[in-house]
């Protein structure tokens, strides 16, 4: 498809362009585009280079971080892991734990629900679909006060599920993402032909076997997309995480790094920058690695 599209203008271009026409002509056709491209790259990449340079500036304050790569050292990275009030290592592990658990569990719960909506016909199915659609209109974020109070009273009875519990946070995320996830998956499940199920049924497979061994494999792409989306949204959430996770050793990167900046903004800038670099690298690596798929899937409705 894309080769078809790209092929034609290229052919036309070579038709229009004589072998070499000098700088003026070159600039008029593509040169100015490179100019914009360079400006774009500076705009896009500069803040990232800045934070990298700041992180390599040993013991730098905000002011001394302005020297761009003038001094290079890894002191800030060492200091980052030695600060006991701000346990960066723990934040990192917590974020991974919460993100991965949320992603895995919400993929699983969403797939179960999508399977039944897509493959079974039952009373209340349409009502169920419509209410899912309506429920996901209301962002869970807005109910953060109620979530806080609910978990406070739950924690009075079961401390494991109260404020400052990561399990409670994961449960909250699971509830909030289910509507959207089920919907995304439902659409994809519908593209898998029902004939496959029917053939398996005739061969004697039960619904559980059909679901776990066949359907889940056929819908693997949407499982990956939903997993990635819920991983990203749960690791970058600040509102609910900051309300629920109180003690520093339980917090996530978003909450922890914010406290770094909000409490000692200018003096510890390079340590924060080191933390930012380490926190961003995995996500960015994943992103660039999956670039092709994400770009393809963007038009399917992911938003930022």
């Amino acid at each position: 498809m894309s080769t078809q599209i790209t092929g034609r203008p290229a052919a036309r271009a070579s038709r229009e362009r004589a072998p070499r026409r000098g700088f003026g002509k070159w600039f008029a056709t593509t040169g100015w585009r490179h100019l914009i491209g360079v400006a774009l790259c500076i705009y896009a990449a500069f803040p990232l280079l800045y934070v990298l340079s700041a992180s390599l500036n040993p013991n730098g304050t905000l002011l001394s971080s302005n020297g761009f790569f003038t001094t290079v050292g890894f002191n800030s990275y060492v200091e980052l892991f030695q600060n006991e009030q701000r346990p960066f290592g723990a934040w990192f592990v917590n974020t991974l734990f919460i993100g991965l658990t949320t992603a895995a569990a919400s993929v699983f719960l969403g797939a179960l629900a999508a399977y039944s909506f897509s493959r079974m016909r039952f009373t209340g199915r349409r009502v169920g679909l419509v209410s899912l659609l309506i429920v996901q209109i209301f962002p869970q974020l807005l109910a953060v006060v109620a979530i806080f109070i609910l978990l406070t009273s739950l924690g009075d009875v079961f401390p494991v599920l109260g404020i400052d519990s990561q399990i409670a946070l994961i449960m909250v995320y699971l509830g909030g993402a289910l509507g959207v996830n089920t919907y995304l998956m439902y659409g994809f499940f519908n593209t898998v032909p029902v004939e496959i199920d029917e053939a398996a049924k005739i061969d004697g497979a039960g619904h559980a076997r059909i679901f776990f061994t066949m359907i889940l494999r056929l819908v693997a792409p949407i499982l990956a997309v939903v997993g990635l989306l819920s991983f990203i949204s749960s690791t970058s959430d600040f509102v609910i995480a900051s309300v629920i996770l109180v003690s520093p050793e339980n917090q996530t990167l978003a909450v922890g790094l914010y406290s770094y900046v909000s409490e000692e903004f200018t003096s510890n800038w390079s340590v924060f920058a080191a933390g930012a670099v380490l926190a961003a690298i995995p996500v960015m690596a994943l992103f660039l690695f999956l670039q092709k798929y994400i770009v393809g899937g963007l038009t399917a409705g992911a938003g930022k």
Partner: protein
């Protein structure tokens, strides 16, 4: 997952065990007919039931009736659904539905309830707790009372106090009043020596142990770790009349229905308790001018922010897509990869990094690019609004760039070729043919982008924390605050936390969101496509 088809269901679940949660195994087994699968199901549900029964009794022990009955209902539901034949869809829907109902549906309804209370700082609990807290605070030493010889013990739950009364050893700590203690149990504690007492002096002097279950009996405190004195509250609670009397001043405080004991001159004893205040929060939001103006300006800015964010990111993205959509140009891939880097960078970090760069005194922009200028990027109301949009543009344009590139490339070339043959100029082709087609395919994404930015808490809060603060507002609200960050700040930032008012704001936002959604649903007719 590479099992062969003739294996029994149970052995297959054994294989998958590390990958699947208990719920998964339960499902895999749920309707298979083999005995093994049935057994596995029974065991799993039994585990759920055992946990639930334990939980119910714990809840009953703490007199949490609502929680206990909620757990009981859910457990009964699980048992019925998984042991009843048929009801297959329910077996698949139940696990997700439980989470959805509690943490999405219930909390939204609960928000509605809280909006009608005065829940917040000073009104955190019920009346009994407030009475206990009042009697425990405001305490003075009972005049002329004899000192109790005490020893301070260090245990697992922190410091405890040991006294001897009527020939019996009594132990108590900050949470538990004095109770007779078995000498053998004292082995778990170690007595603080003199040196320890000095080292932990602050802990020791702040230790207050209730004398008995009745808060009116007061507490024991010690200043030296050797002798403790009885302290009682200067307040006296009259249960029959439901009044608090300050025994020093003689002022009588009554429960006048505002959620705190109130004297005749209007002074209140804090803490109070949470009560139902009806539409009070909503009325305040509309009639109190300091709140109303803040709410109004925040609402306007929320719409402006969401709209301008979508508009700026879309137009920059579209412009770039057009510029780089020329096949003659070399190196487009490199440009594209570099330009999507901001999209891959976590948004909350983007806000924090830009907050440093835009800092007025030390930031890179002012110090290096503008040669030491003191431009208040984040502290001037209008410049802060501009900065927020600027940073959101940085975070968001790659998305629109990618989307527009995709949409442009999917427009068939025949259309523009035909238009060229008919004599259309390139700009006409773009405006009259490509742009309308592009808008059709990206319109839903623009709407969802608007919805996303409507609640884009991270970029606002990380960059400016909503500031600079609005001068005339009666709340901690700033000029870049959007609705969601206002809710957050009213409820969780600062010393005055007003959960009731924050929930009322939430409800107002819910209504706004619902209206927008109804309109956009009518436009897209998404509901009719369901089948």
């Amino acid at each position: 997952m590479t099992k062969t088809a003739h294996q029994g269901p149970q052995s297959s679940t054994e294989e998958r065990k590390p990958k699947l949660s208990p719920a998964a195994r339960r499902f895999a087994n749920a309707t298979s007919t083999s005995v093994g699968a049935m057994l596995a199901k029974i065991i799993l549900v039994a585990i759920v039931d055992a946990t639930a029964i334990f939980a119910v009794f714990t809840a009953l022990g703490r007199e949490a009736w609502v929680i206990a009955s909620a757990i009981a209902v859910i457990t009964v539901l699980i048992n019925v659904i998984y042991f009843k034949r048929g009801w297959l869809p329910a077996k698949y829907l139940l696990p997700g539905t439980i989470f959805l109902l509690i943490f999405q549906v219930f909390v939204i309804g609960y928000t509605g309830y809280i909006a009608f209370t005065n829940y917040g700082s000073g009104h955190n609990s019920d009346k009994d707790d407030a009475i206990t807290a009042l009697l425990q605070s405001n305490q003075n030493r009972v005049e002329g009372s004899a000192g109790y010889p005490v020893s301070i013990l260090d245990g697992q739950d922190g410091l405890a106090m040991l006294i001897e009364r009527d020939g019996q050893q009594m132990l108590g700590d900050a949470d538990k009043p004095f109770a007779p203690v078995d000498p053998a149990a004292l082995g778990d504690y170690s007595e603080l020596a003199f040196g320890d007492l000095l080292g932990r002096q602050q802990e020791v002097t702040s230790l207050t142990v209730p004398v008995s279950e009745n808060p009116a009996d007061g507490t024991l405190r010690t200043s030296d770790g050797r002798t403790a004195y009885q302290y009682t509250s200067s307040l006296k609670y009259d249960e029959a009349a439901d009044t608090m009397t300050d025994q020093k001043t003689g002022v009588v405080y009554q429960d006048t229905g505002v959620g705190a004991y109130t004297a005749e001159d209007g002074t209140q004893l804090m803490p109070g308790w949470s009560i139902n205040v009806g539409f009070d929060n909503f009325t305040r939001a509309v009639t109190d001018s300091s709140i109303r103006n803040a709410l109004f300006s925040v609402t306007v800015w929320t719409f402006a922010f969401a709209f301008l964010s979508v508009a700026t990111t879309f137009f920059l993205g579209l412009f770039l897509a057009i510029v780089f959509n020329d096949m003659r140009m070399k190196g487009r891939k490199i440009y594209r990869v570099i330009s999507i880097l901001p999209y891959a960078f976590p948004a909350f970090l983007g806000g924090l990094v830009w907050a440093g760069m835009l800092n007025r005194d030390f930031g890179f922009i002012n110090q290096v690019l503008l040669g030491g200028a003191q431009i208040p990027w984040l502290t001037d109301p209008w410049l802060a609004k501009f900065s927020v949009l600027w940073v959101n543009l940085w975070l968001g344009f790659p998305y629109m760039f990618l989307v527009c590139t995709g949409a442009l490339q999917s427009i068939p070339d025949e259309l523009s070729e035909a238009a060229t043959l008919d004599g259309a100029k390139p700009f006409q082709i773009f405006r009259l043919i490509k742009l309308p087609l592009l808008l059709v395919s990206v319109a839903p994404l623009l709407i969802s982008s608007f919805a996303f930015n409507f609640n884009n808490f991270n970029v606002i809060y990380m960059l400016t924390e909503g500031g600079p603060r609005l001068q005339d507002a009666g709340l901690n609200v700033g000029s870049t605050d959007i609705l969601i960050s206002m809710v957050y700040k009213v409820a969780f930032v600062g010393s005055q936390r007003d959960y009731g008012l924050a929930s009322a704001f939430s409800i107002i936002i819910f209504v706004i969101v619902a209206i927008i959604s109804i309109i956009s649903f009518k436009q897209t007719k998404a509901l009719e496509e369901l089948n």
